[in-house]
Symmetry: C2
Subunit: 199 residues, 2 copies
DNA sequence: AAAGTATTTGACACAGCGTCAAGAACGTGG
DNA sequence: CCACGTTCTTGACGCTGTGTCAAATACTTT
């Protein structure tokens, strides 16, 4: 076999950076090829298609991001954990200059569009999967807190609510780009969730 | 002057339908031209560019949608008003088959991508403007309810929170397509907002 | 009726996606 | 140590989509 002349992971990282900055549809394989110092055809040979390349690059990101969230949710009082969770979420949206937004949310709204195309469906599942795993993480944190008497609401409902708010924050970030506003909403949400009385 | 051979508003409606179903980047002017029975060049002559056409079509939708929301928020107890508001929001996401999602949220995440292109910025403002106007509508409703003693929270913060949740619902809709789940989240949100004690 | 003006039409240039055949580089078996 | 086969690379091609332009067209106005 002839060995590959470029590093698979390097290309994935470079590609995801472009996808993140310019959107999936807004990034051309020529851009990635130029940035990575690789011929366009080689990308097709190695990854098959633009969407397949994106998916691999996204999975890479998703794994890293999930680990970071897990860490953020792992220490301190429930309020501290949730605050760290929202902090990391917002910091992620606002990373880069200009800020790149939430790749999951952007991908979902961008690719969840086409009707009936096979690969878009695979992408949708990848996005949905990360959202589900984050929801589970939050729910576990709430359940554990409930056992310790730190939380007296419904963990499943509250986790879903929190996830919904984070997705909404990703949208407002694109609309206004106002980080202070995002943090206010996050803080208000934590108050709402923790102050809730029964059920 | 030679008169135009097609109806301006018809084209806007047909175009928006396509944009809504297939996304802005996923819709070609050829698609719209075919659907509208118009030559592609005529669209450029009449609207200037794809984005300009989309913007006009979107403004048309935004006006109609805002009116409907205003109506939904106009009658009954605060809980009834908010329920009607979320109902209309979710119904809007779920309209069409397959469901088309929220055009504003999809547009924001899809077009808010490119860095520094002029027309994308105009689109971003159009989306942000509708979001702002809806927020104002909700806030006014809450303020009025507060004066009647029906609500004792902070109208501005609560309105922002509600808007954030609706944007999050738009994202979850694309991720899971589960309308029942969306309605549960909405109902839970109303509970949270109305049960909140001080501040 | 003739002139003027806006619209339509079709051709063009350009960029992006994806495919293909041909060439190149490396490991492996004789 | 050399020839073979496998895999990667390269460049050309077809297709679709965006946007531009000049020429042709059809209507209104004088």
């Amino acid at each position: 076999m002839r060995p590959r002349e470029f590093d698979h992971d390097d290309v994935l990282r470079i590609a995801f950076d472009q996808f993140w900055r310019k959107g999936v549809r807004g990034t051309s394989l020529s851009d990635i090829a130029r940035d990575a110092g690789v011929q366009r055809g080689s990308l097709y040979n190695a990854f098959g298609s633009k969407e397949a390349l994106f998916l691999q690059a996204y999975e890479r990101y998703a794994g890293d991001y999930l680990l970071a969230l897990q860490k953020a949710l792992g220490t301190g009082s429930l309020r501290k954990r949730l605050t760290a969770f929202f902090d990391l979420t917002i910091t992620n949206f606002r990373s880069g200059s200009p800020p790149r937004g939430c790749p999951t949310t952007r991908g979902l709204m961008e690719l969840g569009a086409a009707e009936g195309e096979g690969l878009d469906e695979a992408a949708r599942q990848a996005f949905a999967s990360l959202v589900s795993r984050i929801t589970a993480l939050v729910q576990d944190t709430l359940s554990a807190a409930a056992k310790r008497g730190e939380f007296n609401g419904n963990p499943a409902a509250a986790a879903l609510h929190i996830i919904t708010v984070t997705r909404g924050l990703a949208v407002l970030e694109r609309a206004y780009g106002d980080e202070v506003q995002l943090r206010k909403i996050a803080s208000h949400t934590i108050d709402l969730v923790l102050d809730k009385k029964g059920s």
